[in-house]
Point group: C2
Chain length 115, copies 2
């Protein structure tokens, strides 16, 4: 079974990882994988309101940047977050991104004067 | 004195910040500002091997994403990292990026078997 190429942990580049994360669909997908673990791409495609072709592009960007691992099993493609590799190369980065995503948007107009 | 527009803290968006950081020149500039504090753009331009016009583009991207604050003083432009605003909205993100930048590149071929 031919498996998609993905960079070795030592070859991950910070700017590529940041660029891959700099998209609402992709960063939401990373959060989903962090939360739920390995996911079948067909299941993901059924859940998002994004065209399958566009999702394929996003999967590729994430994989080529080293954020995800794609595994082909028969006719199915599964993707998983390379959390351990990312934490090894960029300590705290994925945690900080996920925390920032989960934070409620600030109210802006009604900031308190407290610290 | 007209000052360049920059987004309020409450309006900072994670994907914009990540996109602004996803460039070797810009992320190096953020590290310089984190290290040295407020910098005169002319001094920065003299230190980097990047055309002044390209640097102007980078300053704008950083400012519009909310990473930096630009202040015009007479004929000089000074930029500073909006560290407190960024840490408030995206806790740990800038720290993680700076730590990842400072980390030596892994040797790749000679990984130990330890954890």
């Amino acid at each position: 079974m031919k498996q998609p190429l993905q960079p070795a942990t030592a070859d991950l580049r910070l700017v590529d990882v940041l660029a891959a994360l700099a998209d609402p669909t992709r960063v939401a997908l990373v959060a989903r994988l962090a939360d739920l673990g390995s996911q079948n791409c067909t299941a993901i495609n059924n859940d998002v309101e994004v065209h399958k072709t566009t999702m394929s592009h996003h999967y590729r960007v994430l994989r080529e940047a080293g954020l995800t691992e794609t595994t082909v099993r028969g006719r199915e493609r599964w993707i998983d977050l390379r959390r351990a590799d990312l934490d090894e190369r960029f300590p705290g980065l994925i945690d900080a991104v996920l925390t920032s995503l989960e934070a409620p948007p600030p109210t802006g107009q009604s900031q308190s004067s407290g610290s």
